[in-house]
Symmetry: C2
Subunit: 272 residues, 2 copies
């Protein structure tokens, strides 16, 4: 039995339902955050709650739950589900708007499932497929993955694993991950504008400071050609190397030297 929580009420996930008039279903208006549980404890919860509150503010959704109550509910959910290693998603929608087109009292959904994190960096890099698209309201972790899910068929057809968004060649992010590359000169670069500020991205930038020169700046697709190594970061993928972009090999195809060091340094932050 798996439990979920809707507007502060716990129920089995099978019975976790929402009315079809909800604004997320009717108008795609909602946002979320997702964090890991390790050894029964939420990881980087403060960072995720900070971002959740910031997403809500930017999306103009009033959050009536307090941070204390929510934290209590999170711990309750973990306990009820006896989760040791898991992922928890908190979703906030614009609720049941009487006119079906405006922001009302939000619905707050929380659910999760067991998730096993990689313990070592993947030796096999991901192949990326670049596509011209800019996420709307990119600083908000909105539920808008329309393009991300739609484009998957092209991604597969091209023999790639995931899409990398760009605008006129200037890369931004993958739908569920941030991106970094290490230049021929050994500088770690990552785009800083029009991207979601990932929590893993933030942690990597923190641990990288003592290890490598960092530039947060516009990054062009052409830069992968000369890059020594490249990787993406996300809550579930941690650091995963990039093998190729649009069929052009990046670095050795597997994890580079900096990627390995950053993976290890990031891992040290985890309570294991």
């Amino acid at each position: 039995m798996n439990y979920a929580c809707i507007n502060g009420e716990f129920c089995t996930t099978d019975n976790a339902m929402i009315g079809i008039q909800d604004m997320a279903l009717q108008r795609g208006y909602g946002m979320f955050d997702f964090f890991k549980v390790m050894g029964g404890k939420p990881i980087f919860l403060d960072d995720h709650l900070d971002r959740f509150w910031e997403s809500a503010r930017l999306l103009r959704l009033p959050l009536s739950v307090s941070r204390e109550t929510l934290t209590k509910h999170i711990h309750q959910l973990i306990e009820m589900n006896q989760w040791s290693e898991a992922g928890i998603r908190m979703t906030l929608t614009a609720g049941y708007a009487p006119d079906g087109y405006s922001i009302h009292e939000p619905n707050f959904l929380m659910s999760g499932q067991p998730v096993q994190l990689p313990e070592t960096i993947s030796e096999k890099g991901l192949r990326l497929f670049s596509y011209a698209h800019q996420r709307q309201l990119p600083l908000i972790k909105s539920i808008d993955y329309l393009m991300a899910v739609w484009i998957q068929q092209e991604v597969k057809n091209s023999g790639a694993d995931e899409v990398l968004y760009h605008q006129g060649g200037w890369i931004t992010e993958c739908p569920r991950a941030n991106i970094f590359l290490v230049t021929a000169d050994g500088v770690l670069v990552t785009p800083g504008e029009q991207v979601l500020k990932g929590i893993t991205r933030k942690k990597i930038l923190e641990v990288a400071e003592k290890i490598v020169k960092i530039e947060t700046r516009p990054v062009h697709l052409d830069e992968f050609k000369a890059a020594r190594e490249a990787f993406i970061t996300s809550t579930t993928k941690l650091i995963t190397p990039i093998a190729a972009v649009d069929g052009i090999a990046v670095g050795t195809g597997g994890p580079g030297e900096i990627s390995r060091v950053l993976f290890d340094e990031y891992y040290k932050l985890l309570p294991i």
Copy 2:
């Protein structure tokens, strides 16, 4: 008591629920169509069903219901609700994807409520607020209204009624309506690319053929300055005049000569 229909099963609208794992809630992946009921009969149903099937195809959602069965369900829903004048919405989502990120067996939701259509053209025009935005996958009537709902606060702050999207000054559409203007030379123009092909737009273009010269082409924001008249079209707003764009008056501010004639000609198509 109001009834809805989920995956072919009828239920009261209060009990019309969907699991929180649905891809529309999780990833904003869904589409819909909306049509009127007049005198207990669905209006332009063939056009709406054609577009619904086309949206599903473009969004890569497999539709398992047949057109015959769906039509039967629509008539059943109208009868159960004893609707004379109403609006019905059919929504199709990517369903309960096991990985939470791909297209699965769709959920199909149908619900509605009484809607009274205007019987004469509004004497008061709408004030539009222009905003640089392009709807993603614009030929699909997707549930993505993230920007449309989000921007409403700016629209209100500016004293306007609705947003008009443009890209570099080239207008496309309002979030729920198409747009037309009549030039100083008396030509009816409307954008033809990167917009949803509205059913009311289509009917207006048909009836306009015998009345006025038509150009379907890129239209610039600057053209409102010299326009004789302008209006939007939608299933619920029919033809509604535009009074101003970004505070600059358009025509007389009320319905122009062509708008009135087209409203009357459109009305003749309705079974009343």
